[in-house]
């Protein structure tokens, strides 16, 4: 029955119709045929017992006057009934007194042992009916009549009945199939249509299609409800799409506005920095000229002031360069290439050692940190980080700088660690702001733009940067490089 439950509504409806009608007809046919058979048998028994009664009445005198010839004449009258195969008249002592056989070749075989025990009765077998009646005279049994009858008539009638019934059943089922084939359409077609529409809706996400159906019954209301549901979904979808479009448009507008404002700001800061350089250079140039050419005319305090002016102009030049760098980092295009951070770190440390030969710094550089990114920008970032570490470990007797990386939840994290001055963790959010300084200029000189530059570079590589540290115990700056870091790692593994 699993296959039945999987079958289409159409098939189910037809099967149900055929099955119910077939069973009903079959039951009716069996009942009618059985009743027919019973009544035919009863009728036969009744007819034969009438015949037996007639023979019994007519054979009485023949028995009394012991005239078998007369008895045989009486029995011969049974010839009129083709069903009777044989008949016999028995005497009281159960001797065969007179016989009649339809087919002489059979002889009296059919009559042998046919005599019943009681005065009257019958045996209805599969092929013949044996019926017997006592012949009574003066209240005494003086003999017995036995009639053996054929059932071929009943068999023929039953065969005919069964044939008629089978043809009626077949015809009725054919008509039923035809009718249900037509009628089921009114039920199954709307359901099939509905199923088709539902499939189309779920596959093509097309909520504009509509199921069709005109019937007013449950299927009609189902179709209507389905269509209403589709309409509602379509409306909601339209509204949703409109809202999304509006939102996207607004975001795009805002982004454009922001980008424009950002560009203006950058252009402004760039031009300001650039334009500030020329007057600064002339201040520096004239100050130096003054110090060289008119040194004799200046007092010691005048010379000192002049020296300070020159120092400030140098510092201001550095500031402007830093600003220009920062601006350039923001505007520069990021070119993705394979970059060996380990090699870069080595180069930077060597440069720093050359610049300050007297310092003893232990540098540990992990090998194999190959990433995807912009070589120039990544070099600038590392330069800032290692330069900071170099700077803040100046007061340490045994300075130590480490560059390395670690795997952290599918992402490679790079770090630059030092055992320098460190910082208060509560200021960690200010570390990466431009011109934010946690130490005095005298203690650790600098313009406070290095970590801001690092942050911009890392951000442009889709990475993140953060720092951990404690005052007097050193600092560790961590950074990731987004997809570039992952690519590098894969390359690294391939190389290893």
């Amino acid at each position: 029955m699993a296959s039945f439950s999987d079958a289409s509504v159409k098939v189910k409806l037809i099967l149900v119709s055929i099955l119910s009608k077939g069973v009903a007809l079959l039951v009716a046919g069996i009942v009618i045929t059985s009743l027919d058979l019973m009544s035919l048998r009863e009728k036969l028994v009744r007819r034969m017992s009438i015949q037996a009664d007639i023979v019994s009445a007519n054979g009485l005198s023949a028995l009394l006057f012991s005239d078998p010839k007369s008895a045989e004449t009486t029995l011969a009258a049974l010839k009129a009934d083709p069903r009777i195969r044989a008949a016999g008249l028995y005497a009281a002592d159960r001797r065969l007194f007179a016989t009649y056989v339809r087919d002489p070749s059979e002889g009296t075989r059919l009559l042998e042992d046919s005599l019943g025990d009681t005065g009257e009765g019958h045996r209805l077998g599969d092929h013949r009916l044996v019926l017997w009646r006592s012949v009574l005279f003066d209240g005494k049994t003086i003999g017995c009549v036995v009639i053996v009858s054929d059932l071929s008539e009943i068999t023929a009638t039953m065969t005919r009945d069964v044939v008629i019934f089978a043809s009626v059943l077949l015809g009725a089922l054919l008509i039923a199939v035809t009718i249900s084939w037509r009628l089921q359409r009114t039920i199954s077609q709307p359901i099939l249509d509905l199923a088709g529409v539902a499939r189309r809706v779920s596959q093509e996400k097309d909520y504009s299609v509509r199921a069709t159906g005109e019937s007013r019954g449950e299927i009609g209301s189902l179709v209507t409800a389905f269509n209403e549901m589709l309409e509602e979904i379509r409306q909601q979808e339209t509204e949703l799409r409109a809202a999304r479009d509006k939102l996207e448009q607004r975001v795009a507008e805002r982004t454009t506005q922001l980008q424009a404002a950002n560009r203006e700001l950058e252009a402004f800061s760039y031009s300001v920095s650039h334009d500030l350089r020329a007057p600064l250079r002339s201040i520096e140039g004239f100050s130096r000229a003054l110090a060289e050419d008119c040194a004799e005319g200046l007092s010691e305090s005048g010379k000192d002031s002049l020296k300070r002016i020159i120092g400030s102009t140098v510092r201001m030049g550095q500031l402007i360069d830093g600003l220009l760098n920062l601006s350039r980092v923001t505007r520069a295009e990021v070119r993705g290439r394979s970059v060996d951070l380990s090699a870069l770190a080595g180069e930077i440390v060597a440069e720093l050692r050359n610049g300050e030969e007297g310092r003893q710094v232990e540098c540990v550089i992990a090998r194999g940190a190959v990433v995807q990114g912009d070589p120039a920008l990544l070099r600038a970032a590392l330069q800032n980080l290692i330069g900071n570490a170099w700077k803040f470990t100046r007061k340490r007797a045994s300075a130590r700088i480490e560059f390395g990386y670690a795997e952290e939840s599918d992402e490679r994290t790079y770090f630059v660690r030092d055992n320098g001055a460190g910082f208060e963790m509560s200021y960690s959010d200010k570390l990466f702001g431009a011109f934010q300084r946690l130490h005095g200029q005298e203690e650790f000189p600098g313009i406070g733009i290095g970590l801001a530059t690092v942050q911009r570079i890392v951000t442009r590589h889709d990475g993140r940067v953060w720092a951990i540290g404690a005052p007097g115990e050193g600092a560790t700056v961590y950074f990731t490089l987004g997809k570039g870091g992952a690519n590098g790692r894969q390359e690294d593994r391939a190389a290893g």
């Binding site: 006057f65 012991s66 005497a91 007194f97 007179a98």
Partner: protein, 195 residues
């Protein structure tokens, strides 16, 4: 009473056997059955059977349950056989009684009358005397039926058969059942005058 009942049962058996055994048919024919019945035992039984296949006119009986009289005229060939055979028998609720007559005048009141062969020579006068009486005349006198008697016994293959004179029966206003008619040989009356 006990003796009576036993003898009655015995008589019935005898009587039935008388009816059937001689009719054994070709397969069983030939040798006579052991204890075969005598001719008159059979004839006595036949007299009883005749009475069951014959209808008498209503005026033949004066009252409702008047006995049916079986008479024997002349020298009785049956003896006790007839009494034994008919004892206790009844036809249409009428008990059968046996009477013996020497004079035809007395025999007019009987219903079945067996005319003994001793009356062979007096037969015409006897039949004449019975004219108008509803009496079934039975006899075994030679050519009894053709001489005006109604049913005549005759022997055929050692079996008792009978002839019927239908005209005589009709004259006596009796009706013989077709059952009986088909068993007997119908004979014409020879030389009857004024019929």
């Amino acid at each position: 009473m006990v003796r009576d009942a036993r003898s009655r049962a015995g008589t019935l058996l005898l009587c039935l056997a008388a009816a059937f055994i001689p009719a054994g048919g070709p397969a069983r024919g030939g040798q006579p059955a052991p204890g075969a019945l005598s001719e008159y035992q059979i004839k006595a039984a036949y007299l009883y059977y005749f009475s069951t296949f014959v209808d008498w006119p209503p005026e033949a009986f004066s009252r409702g349950r008047e006995p049916l009289v079986v008479g024997v005229l002349g020298v009785d060939p049956f003896g006790a056989i007839l009494d034994d055979t008919l004892r206790g028998k009844a036809v249409n609720d009428r008990p059968l009684i046996v009477r013996r007559f020497q004079n035809i005048k007395d025999a007019r009141d009987s219903h079945v009358l067996f005319i003994s062969s001793s009356e062979r020579d007096r037969l015409p006068s006897i039949l004449k005397a019975l004219e108008g009486a509803a009496v079934l005349t039975v006899g075994d006198i030679d050519r009894f039926a053709s001489r005006g008697g109604q049913i005549a016994f005759r022997m055929e293959d050692k079996k008792v058969r009978f002839d019927i004179n239908v005209a005589a029966v009709e004259r006596a206003r009796l009706r013989i059942s077709a059952q009986l008619m088909k068993l007997g040989r119908i004979v014409e009356e020879a030389g009857r005058q004024g019929g």
